[in-house]
Amino acid sequence: MNAQAPVNLQGNHACALGAIAAGCAFYAGYPITPSSEIAERMARELPKAGGVFIQMEDEIASMAAVVGASMGGARAMTATSGPGFSLKQENIGLAAMMEAPCVIVNVMRGGPSTGMPTRPAQADIMQARWGSHGDRPVIALCPASVQEAYAETIRAFALAERLRTPVVLLMDEVIGHMVETVTLTPPTEEEKGARKWADEPKEGFLPYRITEDGVPPFPRPGDGYRAHATGLTHDENGFPTQDPARVAVVMRRLLGKIDKHRDIIDKWECVDCEDAEVVVTAVGISARAARAAVRAAREKGVKAGLFRPVTLWPFPEEAFRAATAQARAIVVPEMNAGQMVLEVQRLARDEQAVVPVNRFDGEPIAPREILASIEEALT
């Protein structure tokens, strides 16, 4: 396949090909609608790329295997949907604690519980942020097109590797199954990102050393560092500690490493926000509908704009504040009962009206519903 020629692909396949392009060498997963095409494509592509695919006995095991492969030095990923995402939370926490780079794709479907397996939703927005117990660093990316599913998968690997942290790629069922024409441009080495491999004296090596950039160099097994990694709260030497003074220091480093790299983490798109009196804030397929609604509003003479976080967590606060500087109202369409709107409410100024638009019936939000809310918000 000529990588540069446009091809028709569904979002899930674009995600898989993005992973291969990003140098993914290990995939462990478990079948679940609507994400299974990612596993199926990886089963086919990974062996050709010299990697290993395995279907594990459950979602818990697949996440554990991904962390294991990552701690072995491999670029590793898994994909799932809501019920599986719930089961993976345990070892996503382990990855955050051990600082094992990995990518977790969640193609969101209707919930709670088994919910509506073949219907789209965006109801795991808060689970992506808070799903695993304890305070932990979190990055979640939210593509809104098939092209972006490819590109953001590559970026997810780059961020995971560079920052030694799990990265969640939050897609919704529509993006996962929608077919669009895409160009699979191979990433540059810079776009692929690199893990910071330990390359220093073995004597006295600290596997969780507090570094300037907050990211400790990774000791590759076999290179002679013989490090210890644990899910227990650990000191710089990797061994457990409960000394409050030390715990405060090492946890601050772990949680702070995201803040130190907002320049490469934050990503968003603004459409007509400069003079916008109402800014629609949306992600994924809802942002596609919002774009159409904003265009329709402009045609009617309403000063509307779109703010679309591509990096959903950490929420791009600064960019959001800039994009909504002129806004009297912020409309938040999302396919859940109101999740991202909580973050918007947190950031909005007191005089700004925040208008949620929610659907959780398994249908995407239509542009006319958002348009109606834009017009309503200004009256």
Partner: protein, 288 residues
């Protein structure tokens, strides 16, 4: 702390010096007096030493519980993961890094209760790694709750009226699930345990070694089983080594357990098969 023997006084077995394999800076260890896990750890390190495994290429993965804490003491690449998941973690690690010797240390709760599913499928897959299952019949770390291997009618903090559940036989389960090397030994027979572990680690495929350990402080105390030597002697009375496999001794041994190599099968190793199949796919230019 000062009453412990100085490291140079630690016993030696031939050329094996346990200090070569331990992170001595972590001593004193956290195990209770009389715990069998330290003896199992010694046997493992002795086996690795005799096999001349390179520490840099050794990965030890453990779960949660008293068994889980043993890995940290080994001077190798060690991973202390989530409860019940060390086999799943190790599966990913071994698949990504087949060059590493992968040993998993787990307990009866870790591998047979919360990690039961991973145990079954690791046996079925036959990936080249070794599971050392430290069976002390109890959740010691959390204060002595009942486990799937707690002897019937024994008391634990969650069976105050005696355990009413039957025991899970890890070695029978492992064989039924397809493990290609299965063995069992008690800590009393440390050299035998060492030899069994050597065979298990050298075996090309998934190996299970159940170690009959003892929890004196919590389980023994609760059930009036005596001190550690007394508990171990009680184990000895129930052991049935390989050479006595056909002896009719049931009246004298109410709960006999077989020791030694219990199963050794010739079945293709997981990665060997995966590589052969995907190579063929690559040559033909596609799968199905």
């Amino acid at each position: 702390m000062n009453e412990r023997p100085a490291p140079e006084k630690l016993p030696r077995d031939g050329s094996f010096d346990i200090r070569d394999w331990l992170r001595l800076e972590l001593m004193p260890h956290f195990m209770c007096p009389g715990c069998g896990h330290g003896i199992a750890l010694r046997a493992l390190l002795w086996a690795l030493d005799e096999l001349r495994v390179n520490k840099d290429d050794l990965a030890v993965v453990s779960g949660i519980g008293c068994s889980g804490r043993t890995a940290a003491y080994i001077d190798a690449n060690t991973f202390h993961v989530t409860h019940g998941r060390p086999l799943a973690f190790a599966t990913g690690l071994k698949l990504a890094r087949p060059d590493l010797t992968v040993v998993v240390i787990s307990g009866d709760g870790d591998s047979l209760a919360i990690g039961g599913n991973h145990f079954l499928h690791a046996c079925r897959r036959n990936l080249d790694m070794t599971l050392i299952l430290l069976n002390n019949e109890i959740y010691g770390m959390t204060g002595g709750q009942v486990s799937p291997t707690t002897t019937a009618e024994r008391f634990t903090t969650t069976t105050p009226f005696g355990n009413n559940e039957p025991v899970f036989d890890a070695c029978e389960v492992a064989q039924a699930a397809g493990a290609t090397f299965v063995g069992r030994e008690a800590t009393l027979q440390t050299p035998n345990l060492k030899d069994l572990l050597k065979d298990a680690i050298a075996h090309h495929g998934f190996s299970v070694v159940e170690v009959i350990s003892d929890c004196t402080e919590i389980y023994g105390r609760k059930n009036d089983l005596g001190n550690s030597p007394e508990m171990i002697l009680a184990q000895k009375r129930e052991m049935r080594p390989e050479a006595y496999r056909n002896t009719v001794d049931t009246p004298f041994r109410p709960n006999p357990f077989n020791t030694g190599v219990l199963a050794r099968r010739d079945r293709p190793e997981y990665l060997d098969v995966y590589r052969a199949r995907t190579e063929a796919l690559r040559r033909q230019g596609g799968g199905k």
